[in-house]
Amino acid sequence: MILLHLLKPELEELIAQGQWQTLRSFLSTQPAPEIAELLEHLDQRGQLVIFRLLPRALASEVFALLTPDTQNLLVSRLAQEEMRSILAGLSPDDRTALFEELPAEVTQRLLALLPDDKRREALVLLSYPEYSVGRLMTTAYLQIKPTWNVARVLAHIRAHGADSETIMILYVTDEQGHLLDDVPLRKVLLAAPETPVSVLMDGQYACLRSLQDQEEAVALFKQTGYYALPVVDADNVLLGIVTVDDILDVVEQETTEDFQKLGKVRPIEASLRDVSLFELYRKRIGWLVGLVFVNIFTGAGMAIFEETIRKVIALVFFLPLLIGSGGNAGSQTTTLMVRALAIGDARRTTWWRIIRREVIVSLILGLCMAAAVALLALLRGGVDVAVVVSAAMCGVIFFGSMTGVLLPLILRGLGFDPAAAGAPLVTSLVDIAGVLIYFSIAYLWFDRLMTAVR
């Protein structure tokens, strides 16, 4: 950020003057994320110039941090040789992420630039389904054998450690590649050089399956607090590792998705800043129009009570309030439930307790709201309206809250995503029910009861 805000004019001047040597030596002392951020804010020419000046290793590091759009642009402008060295410098998981984002034909072209072994590896990683653990894997890790001694392990690290993403944990496999254990580097360093690896093993390790959902990986990382977890296939053969930095990105994406779903927007994959108007339109119009059709029922419901409304127009003054309150109570509980389900707080064993508790909470809330609205209704519509409105308020709050708790649970129980359908469904249900509750009570009070009294 400092680089970007303080030095951008100076850097642009240096580019204009062609002071390549100065630029190069300055840039090579800067951290990669700063350079990546700077590049995002330069024009196309500037991006290309600056990127070409970077030392080779730094260039790959910076490239991995750029947005897909900028990556795409560089891919189209850089010469094959340049691209080859950048691709070679990327870690396998960053490479998968890049290929995921690029158009298919560009991916094909880039794959051709990779040496055979790396191309095979990239193809394998790309073959895992989207949102599976396999897509997050990197193959840059260290494998050791139980028969080795510590000295051999250290020698192995010296020889191969430079390519691996993390050496904090080493993975012990048998001859067929089955994962046997994980050994922290600390243990290896603390042991005498002639100690065999098998002595350091405790047979306790956590691992992920390559086809598992990424959300499950997040949960395991949270539970274990590890920096990296090994990934195995169905036969327990070690395929790669997933590191915590990628998990942080997954968490961010999934949380953002949940936010959008609760806000009744279909998930948007691009950055909100850059997403196009029509994309946004498509993602938002769905639920908006959906709700109009719900209104066919709400409207029809109200039409039944047309006579009652005509008699007591003051009832209308409180209609938006009742609908709004039911909707608010519903969105409160939907939010609480959806989030609790997402972070693994609400397990099946606690569902029943949560439901029972909500009955009490929503009754208390309903009574408080009824008391507050009774005062208002008394002033504007008289005693009869006050009775009807507060009774309806209590009912609407209760219904809204319970729907918000139950619906996400039902959706989850049926195997659907509680966030995606939860929020709009709750709004719709509460809408229809609110109107029916309100005018039914009004009808009972004004038409039946009053006639009976008379």
């Binding site: 360093l189 920096y227 938002r284 608010n328 609480l336 709201m369």
Partner: protein, 451 residues
């Protein structure tokens, strides 16, 4: 001569201030005294007052006093800080006083505190250092390895063997100078694969990322995202290395912050405990506020509708569309609030982006509004004829545009005013749309249908 004045003159001046809880005067008074007299004073005070008075000293004075103590006394002071008593003493200060009066501890004190105390006690003592509740300082742990630039790689590996047994994160070692100021970080990997005789200084590139104790933890989350790191060192105002923050703690922090944002957007005041464990009382308290707020809003929207009572009386079917209109405006608004608040939280959208986003939202909301208007026109026509259709369609356009624009702008306004964009986002939008929506609708009806 007054004998009391001769024996403890300073303590007699201090005592009344302590009893009156006049922290500002107390701080001003002790700041003027030379360090040696303060040492005397500290030992005259009761233990629970001692920490309080010490913490009120300005940073430089606190350092002088600490240095005037011998090592034994220093350790006693530190050990004392970890006791419940000391925390209770500091709890007397109001949060405002805390920020205003308590300065950061001098580096040697903080350093000793981090090193001497065992883990659980240290967590408590970190609060005493007055790092704000959501600051990086509160997340620090000491499971890391410190090295000096002139050491060789072989020496470092020996050092790790000896002291690194607690360090889960054998990922980086941190290079410090003789004052323990952070110079660089070096990967353990690099040390292992280098020539054992090579000195650490030759592996240093002086490129490193560090956090400051007082920075917000959200900042730490952003830094972890940006740099793809497993651990980040934490330094104080003098660049002295005090600890590290690790990625697994950040994962937990991130989850908490996101949950807070979710709750705020869902008009629930953040719970601070797990939802499954929250009590009925807590749930009622955190939810009732915004619900009642909407009742208060109805004072206005109800009055607005009442003003058009005669319009409704003549054309009751107008009422059938009221819930739809209010909801649609609210939905459009909460869409843009949710998108914007989240994009702000992840750093995707910044304050300066508002003109562009507002412009896009203007076009977008007109487009959305028109689509909705077409659909709802048919519905109105079907129920009562094309005049009602037209009225409802126009009102729909107005309400969707209004809701979207308010929803887009509000998070920026709140952020610019230094408030949390998530706090008031969706309920405020709902309220504004509620009041304006009904009035606009009925006013259009009056004009078009001549009622």
């Amino acid at each position: 001569m007054n004998p009391q004045a001769r024996t403890t003159p300073l303590i007699d001046e201090i005592r009344p201030l302590l009893h009156r809880h006049d922290w500002r005067a107390l701080r001003a008074r002790v700041s003027r005294e030379p360090a040696l007299r303060l040492v005397e004073l500290l030992y005259d005070l009761a233990p629970r007052e001692r920490i309080l008075v010490y913490r009120l000293l300005p940073r430089s004075k606190a350092l002088e006093v600490f240095e005037a103590l011998d090592v034994e006394q220093q350790n006693a002071l530190i050990a004392h800080m970890a006791q419940d008593e000391a925390r209770a003493a500091l709890a007397q200060l109001s949060p405002d006083d805390r920020t205003a009066l308590l300065e950061e501890m001098p580096s040697p004190v903080a350093r000793k505190l981090m090193d001497l105390l065992p883990d659980p006690q240290r967590r408590d003592a970190l609060m005493l250092l007055n790092y704000p509740p959501n600051s990086v300082g509160r997340l620090m742990t000491t499971n890391y390895v410190r090295v000096r630039p002139h050491w060789t790689c072989a020496q470092v590996i020996d050092h790790i063997r000896q002291y690194g047994s607690d360090s889960e994160t054998l990922w980086m070692v941190y290079v410090v100078n003789e004052h323990r100021q952070l110079l660089d970080d070096v990967r353990v990997r690099q040390i292992l694969i280098s020539d054992p005789a090579l000195s650490i200084s030759s592996l240093m590139d002086n490129r490193f990322v560090a956090l400051h104790t007082h920075q917000e933890r959200e900042h730490a989350v952003a830094l972890f995202r940006k740099y793809d790191l497993y651990a980040i060192p934490v330094v104080d105002a003098d660049n002295v290395l005090l600890g590290i923050v690790t990625a697994d703690d950040i994962l937990a922090v991130d989850e908490q912050e996101a949950t807070e944002d979710f709750h705020k957007l869902g008009t629930v005041r953040p719970l601070e405990v797990r939802f499954s464990e929250a009590s009925v009382r807590l749930l009622v308290r955190s939810r009732l506020g915004w619900l009642l707020g909407l009742v208060a809003v109805n004072v206005f929207s109800g009055a607005g509708i009442a003003y058009f009572e005669h319009v409704i009386a003549r054309m009751v079917p107008l009422v059938f569309f009221m819930p739809l209109l209010v909801d649609s405006g609210g939905n459009a608004g909460s869409q843009s609030v949710a998108l914007t608040v989240r994009a702000m939280a992840t750093g995707d959208v910044r304050l300066r982006d508002w003109p562009r986003l507002l412009l896009r939202e203007t076009f977008l909301s007109i487009l959305l509004g028109l689509s909705m208007a077409v659909v709802v026109f048919g519905l109105g026509w079907y129920r009562q004829g094309w005049l009602l259709g037209l009225t409802v369609a126009l009102a729909m356009l107005a309400v969707v545009v209004l809701g979207s624009l308010v929803g887009q702008l509000l998070p920026f306004v709140l952020r610019a005013m230094g408030m949390d964009a998530a706090t008031a986002g969706s309920p405020l939008v709902t309220s504004i749309v509620d009041i304006c929506g009904c009035v606009v609708y009925l006013a259009i009806a009056k004009a078009i249908m001549g009622l």
